[in-house]
Every structure is written in C-alpha cells, then in structure tokens.
C-alpha cells in the first residue's frame, strides 16, 4: 500500500477513525437498506470494479 496502516490498524483509513466510521456507516446503510435488491447493487459494484480495473 502506498499509505500504510497505523500501528494496530488494518487499513490506511484507520489513520482517520471518525472519517472511516462515517464512510462505513454510509456504505453499510446502502447495503442493508434501500429499495434496490442486492444482486443489482452487486452487479453495479462489480461493473464499476471492472471499469476501473480494480483487482481487489
């Protein structure tokens, strides 16, 4: 990674726990609630990953 995780952290985003938490709350909410079914959301996520060529 070009930005290292802080000691004891797992992600570079652990450098900013409040910001990371806010991101996770939005991301989790979009997956657990809403009117779109999960396969449609996952299809969009995978398509986006392929378009930007993200191997993760």
């Amino acid at each position: 990674m070009r930005i290292h995780a802080p000691e004891g952290g797992q992600s570079f985003l652990d450098h900013q726990p409040e910001l990371f938490g806010a991101f996770n709350r939005l991301y989790g909410r979009l997956w657990t609630d809403g009117s779109l079914d999960q396969p449609t959301k996952e299809t969009a996520r995978l398509r986006n990953a392929r378009v930007v060529d993200c191997k993760l």
């Binding site: 070009r2 930005i3 290292h4 802080p6 570079f12 985003l13 450098h15 900013q16 409040e18 910001l19 990371f20 806010a22 991101f23 709350r25 939005l26 909410r29 979009l30 657990t32 609630d33 809403g34 009117s35 930007v52 060529d53």
Partner: protein, 184 residues
C-alpha cells in the same frame, strides 16, 4: 455562492437544477430522495472537512474535479469552509494551469495531481506521485485526502447524471428541482 444557491436551517446548501427525475413537489434536495443513507452521506461529507487537511486545498481539489467532469453546478459553488479559510478566486481561475502556475503551493499541486489522476486514470497515479504526496502530507492527511477526493468525485458524477438541460432531450419530461451541493 454559486448558481441560485440557498442554505437551509440544518446546513444543507442546495443549487437549482433541471432534472429528468420525477421529483415530488416540495422536495428540498433531490439527494434526500435516497431511500436510505442521506443522513450518513451528510455526516461523511462534513467529516472530510474536519479531518486534518486545510479547506482551501480540499476546495481546489473539489473544483478541479468539477471542471474535469464538467459539472456547472459544482464548479459554480464555493464551500463556505474554504471561503472562511481564505480561498482566493484568482487562484481558482488559475486551476486549469495548476501544474505550471506559481499561484499554487507544492502541497496543493500534490493534492491536485492525486485528484486529477483519481478522476481521469487512477492507475496513472505512480509510485513517484505517491512519494511526492508523502513529501507534503502526513499519512493521516493522505487518508483524508483520498476519501475526500473519492466523495467529491462520486457526488459530482451523481449531480452530472441527474442534471439535464432545460429542454431535457427528445421526449424527456424535466422537472425544476434543487440538489445538495454542500453539507455543513
């Protein structure tokens, strides 16, 4: 303030757009039509401005993204936090020439390089670019900058997709509406 902007009592700054979305009358922010996540989105947006990177640098990145994605609403808006921090309109005018203009600090140039590559070609951000960014920002600041740029990019694309010309294209019904452009 940009194109016909207003700020509500709860700190949501909205701008006027024309959209192809069927927006119910009385809707104060198109983004609030999200069935879930609007409050979380507002919290995340506010958080990026409070996580260790100066507001002028963030605003320059946001405006550069707006220019690259050709979003008039975003390009016309000025975040109040950046104005309070001393955003200079002469510097904003120089944004298209940021690599060579002497109006930008090296740190701002590093941030703008990251923002530009993020939008145009994230794989084009090289190890050398990353090293240069580390020369001007701490790792916590780089974490903030990365998330801030991602949020600016995402919201700008959302506004581009939802906004249409007044005519709306052949056969498209359009609605005058307001859309959130800053959450303070």
């Amino acid at each position: 303030m940009g194109r016909d902007e207003t700020t509500s009592d709860d700190g949501v700054r909205t701008a006027a757009i024309t959209t192809w979305l069927p927006v119910p009358e009385g809707t104060t922010d198109v983004l609030a039509m999200l069935p879930a996540g609007y409050d979380e989105l507002r919290t995340l947006y506010r958080s990026v401005w409070e996580a260790g990177v100066d507001a002028v640098t963030l605003e320059l990145c946001r405006l550069r993204i707006a220019m690259l994605l050709r979003s008039p609403v975003d390009a016309a808006t000025r975040d109040p936090r950046a104005i309070a921090a001393g955003l200079d309109e002469d510097v904003v005018d120089q944004l298209p020439a940021w690599p060579t203009s002497d109006r930008f600090t090296d740190a701002q140039r590093g941030a703008l390089a990251l923002a530009e590559q993020f939008v145009i070609d994230p794989h084009g951000f090289t190890d050398d670019d990353a090293l240069a960014a580390h020369a001007h920002f701490t790792e916590p600041q780089l974490a903030t900058l990365t998330i801030a740029i991602a949020v600016f990019d995402a919201l700008t694309r959302v506004r581009c997709v939802l906004t249409t010309d007044d005519g709306g294209g052949t056969g498209t019904a359009v609605t005058a509406a307001r859309i959130g452009v800053a959450f303070t």
